[in-house]
């Protein structure tokens, strides 16, 4: 029970971040390697608004996500938009440059010491023999709501239909009057906001350090590759799946005899993904076309 909750906490965080990444890849075909840094931007911005400017928490979180959106927008205009039409791998390089810049700026602005958005002890709730904090329940619930919202927008609204049209063929979609570049921009900003929200959760549940970014990016990529590149739901399911495997690896007494040493937690989870891809190289949920 506690194991599943632990996996839900870690998985929700990963799903938020990987979901945004999968959207961007699915719609634009672009790899964003500054994703982890965008996560930190959201987290640190919220920390700054809440701790230094002493704004109320809700306002700070909203502000943090907005700052994340603005950074994502600027990043899109400067580092992605001029390049991705020429070749969709170009942003791979430009976003690496962006990630290094953001790393430097964060270190300069917020110093190397770790920061926590909510320092006070969390309110722990006991569910049977499992324990979870209110904040973590929020995290799980908000992620769930956002994912449902995404599903609704994608599958039941005009915008969603346009997005899916752009995914299938952006030139054809444009000839029918759909403003594909605008949709691209929107999708990129939404992914930045989801990432920023992920950063807020990290800042509340654990703490923020300037070096967190790269491991976050790696995990998100593992999820979208395992889920079938560009498949939003596949990425999200895989984010939860990887989290669950990670928790099970160290949390279960295997064959009643031994625990896997905790140092192998991530390796075993990724090994599982590799083995899986060997047998089904297209990923868990690959469809015929790229899809969002």
């Amino acid at each position: 029970m506690q194991l599943v909750i632990n996996a839900l906490i870690a998985g929700s965080l990963a799903a938020l971040i990987a979901g945004g990444l999968a959207l961007v890849y699915g719609v634009l075909g672009v790899f964003n390697l500054a994703l982890g840094q965008m996560v930190l931007v959201g987290g640190y911005a919220t920390w700054w608004l809440y701790q230094s400017l002493a704004l109320p928490l809700v306002v700070s979180v909203f502000g943090g996500v907005m700052i994340g959106a603005i950074v994502a927008w600027c990043a899109f205009e400067v580092f992605v938009a001029p390049f991705y039409k020429r070749h969709r791998f170009l942003p791979l390089v430009t976003t690496i440059a962006l990630s290094m810049m953001i790393d430097g700026v964060l270190l300069l602005l917020f110093e190397a010491r770790p920061r926590s958005i909510l320092a006070n002890a969390k309110t722990i709730v006991a569910l049977g023999d499992a324990r979870i904090s209110l904040e973590q329940m929020f995290l799980i619930a908000i992620t769930f709501i956002l994912l449902c919202l995404c599903a609704y927008v994608l599958h039941s609204t005009v915008i969603g239909r346009r997005i899916r049209a752009v995914v299938q063929n952006d030139h054809a979609a444009m000839s029918l009057g759909i403003n594909a570049p605008l949709l691209h921009r929107m999708i990129f900003i939404v992914s930045g906001m989801l990432a920023a929200l992920g950063g807020v959760f990290i800042g509340i549940d654990q703490n923020l350090t300037p070096t967190l970014a790269f491991p976050i990016t790696i995990k998100a990529y593992a999820a979208i590759i395992a889920g079938g590149k560009g498949n939003l739901w596949g990425a999200i399911i895989c984010a939860y799946l990887i989290a669950l495997i990670e928790q099970m690896v160290v949390g279960i007494e295997w064959f009643g005899a031994f625990y896997v040493p905790a140092g192998y937690q991530q390796s075993v989870a990724l090994l599982f993904i590799i083995l899986f891809l060997l047998f089904k190289p297209s990923g868990l949920f690959m469809l015929k076309n790229r899809s969002a």
Partner: protein
């Protein structure tokens, strides 16, 4: 390794062009420490300590009339970066001596290079027992964990804590501490012993497993305070109420900022909080603001720089003569106390104290004697 050796050749070629050192120009001292990365807080504090000592010395006329210059390199708390940093300082900057590294991994990786160049390496912060054997030119004014783990084992025995649970981060410092403590406690006393990858922050499932283990004391063995905060908080979140005792890393006010309630009551066995509340701290704050980890780290670095400059004033800049001067040093009166060096280059005269987190402060509980 290949990259490091190529770099080395490159630097040697470069240095061949720079010409020899003059006798009345500035004296160059190198610094290696983590200025970026998870351990950057230590780097910033110790670098500021060194800078402060050098500025004061230069303001007072320098060392025998010569100004002291500092060449700073980022070791990032990793062996690879520290090795190329040492290579550069030795070959390109041609420093007289190096203050560093801070992380034990840095010092251990830099030591073979400085050893070959007969350049003094003086670490203000590395505590791994392996540093004792690292070389003839390697010194430190921070005590070895071989002693601290002894002090810790003794304290556990005193309290009647027979079953110890520990959680270690896979870094040179933490792993050496784990090995030394296990040796001092005896293998059977360690009832839970897990090692996680550096930077791990999700310990919830390990905490869950720990609930099924009966233990008397928990020892969070992390390399930096960000990871330690996650360990301590998630253990407490799971309702584990056993006492916690840790080492230097826990001696950080950052923990109070991060997890004020969870950390309350945790005990720390460390060197005394040297410099705290005194003139040194006032001067430090005026220049650099609050220490990022603890003022004691800056104090150790400040003393290291001073003991080095005192020795240069006495015997000049030759590596072997500086080495002998440090071995023969009767006593240095610094911020951290009176200390000297033994035949291994380890510091003698720095005591240990037991501290505890109480009401958002770290207070001294008592001295701990090690024999």
């Amino acid at each position: 390794m290949k990259r490091a050796s190529l770099l080395g050749i490159f630097f040697i070629l470069l240095s061949a062009c720079t010409g020899g050192e003059s006798d009345n120009g500035p004296i160059k001292i190198g610094y290696i420490g983590p200025l970026t990365g998870d351990a950057a807080a230590y780097g910033v504090d110790t670098l500021n300590g060194v800078k402060m000592a050098i500025e004061e010395r230069n303001a007072a006329g320098g060392v025998n009339g010569r100004m002291v210059e500092l060449a700073v390199e980022d070791g990032r708390c990793t062996g690879a970066d520290a090795a190329s940093a040492a290579q550069k300082l030795v070959s390109v900057d041609r420093v007289t001596a190096i203050i560093g590294g801070q992380c034990s991994g840095e010092t251990l990786a830099a030591a073979p290079i400085t050893e070959a160049a007969e350049t003094l390496l003086l670490s203000p912060l590395s505590s791994s027992p392996d540093v004792t054997e690292a070389g003839d030119f390697v010194f430190r004014n921070y005590p070895s964990d071989a002693l601290k783990t002894k002090a810790m084992a003794k304290y556990f025995a005193e309290k009647g804590w027979k079953r110890v649970a520990m959680l270690s981060e896979n870094t040179d410092f933490a792993m050496a501490f784990r090995a030394a403590l296990t040796e001092n406690l005896g293998k059977e006393a360690v009832v839970f012993d897990e090692v996680v990858e550096p930077g791990t922050k999700d310990f919830r499932t390990l905490a869950l497993r720990l609930k099924d283990v009966s233990f008397d004391v928990f020892f969070p063995n992390a390399q930096g305070d960000a990871v330690m905060a996650a360990m301590v908080e998630q253990m407490r979140d799971q309702g584990l109420t056993q006492p916690m005792v840790t080492h230097d890393v826990g001696d950080s006010m950052t923990l109070v900022d991060l997890i004020p309630e969870a950390v309350s009551g945790m005990q720390v066995i460390n060197v005394p909080s040297a410099g705290e509340g005194g003139e040194f701290e006032t001067k430090y704050r005026a220049k650099f603001g609050d220490a990022q980890s603890t003022i004691a780290f800056a104090a150790h670095a400040y003393d290291a720089a001073n003991v080095l400059m005192d020795s240069i004033a006495k015997v000049g800049t030759s590596g072997p003569r500086l080495r002998d001067a440090l071995y023969d040093l009767p006593e240095h009166r610094g911020i951290v106390g009176r200390f000297s060096f033994n035949a291994d280059g380890d510091v003698v005269g720095i005591p240990y104290v037991l501290k505890e987190f109480r009401d958002g402060k770290i207070v001294k509980v008592k001295d701990i004697a090690v024999d």
